[in-house]
């Protein structure tokens, strides 16, 4: 994959020139979105996207959510995939907290988990880059490397025809992100904060994916499947706002799942 930072210097010039000559985009004001074939079911956001939006609503003490303990290793691949996503999300939390030692520990933990699942080779350069960027306190670079790490893990899994494991990595990250989001919003409830949970299509996407992987029917995957059904009515509230009580319930559910993901 080509990085935006590897583009040659003429690209900036070309695009600057383009800025002077580009047309404003003309498009119909209304369309029937259902008539289009979709390329991807739903694009799963990075934990950093929701944390960024949360940060804009007020100060968050990210340090209290940093987690670096090594935790268990699993022999079951679906469990490792979920944990890998969860630990990468922990990396984004450590970046928000600007905690360099935690970032470095998490980088090594990601590498060890990736090796355990047979995709370590693609992660080694990213783990090194995470450590270097954390040492220099270059937080944007750490974020970028965490994104690259997740992308490389998932690409390597896809190349091994293991798309389902790749989806579990996304799910692990999303669950950890949702746990932190609900913790923050529960403590200082605002409707704007609760609105960040309005992700019904994403929830349906994950539910459908889990249903399509009966071969990975380990207890934690079953727990998540049931939990998604519990969470759905709490966030799919139509035009009504998501309540403080719903935020608390989702936090309880995601905290319970997090325990199942990280402990043996």
């Amino acid at each position: 994959m080509i990085s935006v930072f590897h583009i040659n210097k003429w690209a900036g010039f070309t695009l600057a020139l383009l800025g002077f000559t580009a047309e404003a985009a003309q498009a119909p004001q209304h369309i029937n979105v259902k008539q289009y074939k979709t390329v991807a079911d739903v694009v799963v956001p990075l934990p950093g996207e929701v944390f960024g939006a949360l940060n804009k609503l007020g100060p968050v003490n990210w340090k209290e959510f940093v987690r670096t303990e090594k935790g268990a290793n699993f022999s079951e691949r679906p469990r490792t995939a979920l944990l890998l996503g969860n630990v990468i999300a922990d990396g984004f939390i450590a970046v928000q907290a600007q905690d360099a030692p935690a970032v470095k520990d998490i980088g090594q933990r990601v590498l060890s988990l990736a090796k355990g699942i047979g995709v370590g080779a693609s992660i080694t350069p990213h783990a090194k880059a995470i450590t270097e960027a954390a040492d220099k306190r270059k937080w944007d670079n750490v974020r970028l490397e965490l994104d690259r790490t997740q992308n490389s893990v998932q690409q390597a899994m896809n190349e091994l025809q293991d798309q389902k494991l790749s989806q579990l990595v996304s799910l692990g990250g999303w669950l950890r992100g949702t746990q932190i989001l609900t913790s923050v919003v529960h403590r200082h409830f605002t409707q704007e904060g609760a609105e960040l949970l309005h992700q019904p299509d994403l929830l349906k996407y994950f539910g459908d994916r889990l249903t399509a992987m009966p071969e990975y029917s380990v207890p934690v995957v079953e727990s998540i499947k049931h939990a998604l059904v519990e969470v759905r009515p709490l966030i799919d509230t139509g035009s009504k706002p998501i309540s403080a009580d719903a935020v608390k319930k989702i936090n309880d559910i995601t905290t319970r799942l997090d325990g199942e993901i990280v402990t043996r």
Binding site: V42, E49, G52, E192, E195, L196, H198
Partner: protein, 146 residues
């Protein structure tokens, strides 16, 4: 080289190689989408490593459905390696209402759409190849947020 081998090389293998070079790939399209993103990186947009792409006939459209968060600002950049193609990208909410900002733009084989979501929800990014000299045109979409 014997004449039979020369024939195979000249009339079968070389055209295949040339066709491969000329036809490009989604990865090539992605490099153009990233070119479109580059000035915005300097403005603080974090460009996601992942990308979406494929190939479309002229006049064909596809959708990428994406969860966006209120409070963030997003740009979507589309590119193709077919320099004489004209492509477009637009952003609609779930009800099919155009929600992009007026500074969204299209120029030849680059296009970009800007959105500041008014609600946290899933949105539809509609990509299209408006015109192209090729039967099928590779395209790629990347996005960034801040």
């Amino acid at each position: 080289m014997n004449p039979r081998r020369q024939f195979v090389l000249l009339f079968l293998i070389v055209p295949l190689i040339l066709r491969g070079i000329a036809s490009g790939s989604v990865d090539d399209a992605q490099s153009f989408a990233l070119q479109a993103a580059e000035p915005y990186v300097r403005e603080g947009f974090q460009v996601r490593e992942d990308y979406w792409g494929g190939d479309l006939a002229a006049g064909e459209k596809k959708a990428v459905r994406q969860q966006l968060f209120k409070g963030n600002e997003y740009w979507f950049w589309m590119g193709t390696e077919v320099s004489h193609a004209r492509i477009s990208v637009h952003i609609y909410d779930k009800d099919g209402k155009l929600v992009e900002q007026s500074d969204s733009w299209q120029k030849g084989h680059f296009a970009a759409a800007h959105v500041v979501p008014s609600t946290t929800d899933s949105y539809f990014i509609i990509v299209a190849v408006e015109e192209s000299p090729e039967e099928r045109t590779h395209w790629a979409l990347v996005y960034g947020f801040r």
